[in-house]
């Protein structure tokens, strides 16, 4: 069994970001997208922050993630799960509208170039809108 102190120390050692400003702990663009979408929904008044928080806690508690290595990946999967659940509870999402769309993205029927988003600026592509 690995010493937990070493795991923490190792995680700290792998922090690549500076301590001041700009230190967003995302390790994939979808995590930033998920984060920004949820915070924007909150800012636009779709829910109270504690409503999201409560679902995030439920999601984390119901998952067994003690062995997962990629903390940000796991965390933002929970984040998405909590956001989807909240939006279904609020009636913003209904039926299988999201499920269908996820399938379309997974199969490549839709791709990210359908919409240009700021959260992907780290990967600047010239998007072509003439579909």
């Amino acid at each position: 069994m690995t010493d937990l102190d070493e795991i923490i120390a190792d995680l700290r050692g792998r922090e690549e970001f500076p301590e001041r400003g700009g230190d967003l702990s995302f390790n994939a663009p979808w995590q930033a997208r998920a984060f920004a979408t949820v915070v924007t929904l909150y800012r636009q008044g779709f829910f109270e922050w504690n409503e999201f928080q409560a679902r995030l806690i439920e999601t984390i508690e119901s998952a067994d993630t003690t062995d997962d290595k990629d903390i940000e990946d796991v965390y933002y999967r929970h984040w998405l799960e909590a956001a989807e659940q909240l939006l279904y509870d609020k009636g913003v999402l209904r039926g299988n509208v999201l499920d269908r769309r996820i399938g379309e993205f997974e199969s490549g029927e839709r791709d990210a170039s359908e919409f240009v988003v700021g959260v992907d600026h780290a990967h600047t592509h010239t998007h072509n809108h003439d579909h």
Binding site: I7, E19, D23, W49, T66, G95, D99, E106
Partner: protein, 215 residues
């Protein structure tokens, strides 16, 4: 990937398979909200740039430096952290409604954790570092704080200093008020702010026992 799940009429179900590809999931959610004109890309961009450029531990550092030079502000901060931070500096937003400021003293060292998930005072510290969210930190710092601070963070807390581990609840966010380092008399507020680290405001670093030249 898709299991066929019936559309629900009451909106209380969650027909998204948990094992769906998260990238597709994030794209699906965002594109749906934008196409339905519930959100705009500009609004989302604004959030990203806020958290990239404006919300981070530099905000908390300003608050700490003010407290070091202004006794009245200190009193206000300890009494009503959220108000003192929002009214003096304008730092508010999600994860910031109930910020409680914990004062380190010569005899007490505070360290913050969230055992529930990763609650963290965003307006003053930005988003939490990865290790703060890790299961090992969340369990170890509670069970053996002195040892964890020493082994994982290289921080030796004197045996006669009490360590108080503060478990963030869903309602309260904690920020640690570190002791002012030695040798900083007469420094300006902005020079002082530059000495304050994120880790010292979480409590995994102790500034007060250091001389300014060590920082």
């Amino acid at each position: 990937m898709s299991q066929d799940q019936p559309p629900d009429e009451n909106g209380n179900e969650h027909p998204v398979p948990r094992d769906a590809d998260p990238q597709a999931r994030a794209r699906a959610l965002q594109s749906y909200l934008i196409e339905e004109e519930l959100l705009t890309t500009d609004q989302i961009d604004e959030v990203m740039s806020l958290y990239e450029d404006e919300i981070g531990p530099q905000n908390g550092a300003e608050v700490v430096a003010r407290e070091w030079v202004d006794a009245e502000y200190r009193e206000w901060l300890l009494e009503d952290g959220s108000a003192a931070i929002a009214e003096a500096f304008g730092y508010t937003g999600p994860e910031g409604t109930d910020i409680v400021v914990l004062e380190n003293t010569d005899d007490v060292h505070n360290v913050v954790v969230c055992t529930l998930c990763s609650c963290y005072p965003w307006p003053v510290l930005g988003l939490p570092p990865t290790w703060y969210k890790s299961p090992p930190y969340r369990s170890k710092i509670v069970k053996s704080p002195r040892q964890t601070l020493r082994k994982a963070f290289g921080v030796d807390i004197d045996a006669d200093v009490e360590i108080r581990v503060r478990d963030t609840s869903a309602e309260v966010r904690y920020m640690v008020l570190p002791l002012r380092p030695v040798g900083t008399d007469g420094m300006s507020e902005s020079d002082l702010a530059a000495l304050v680290t994120r880790d010292s405001m979480i409590g995994v670093e102790r500034l007060g026992t250091k001389h300014v030249e060590e920082l």
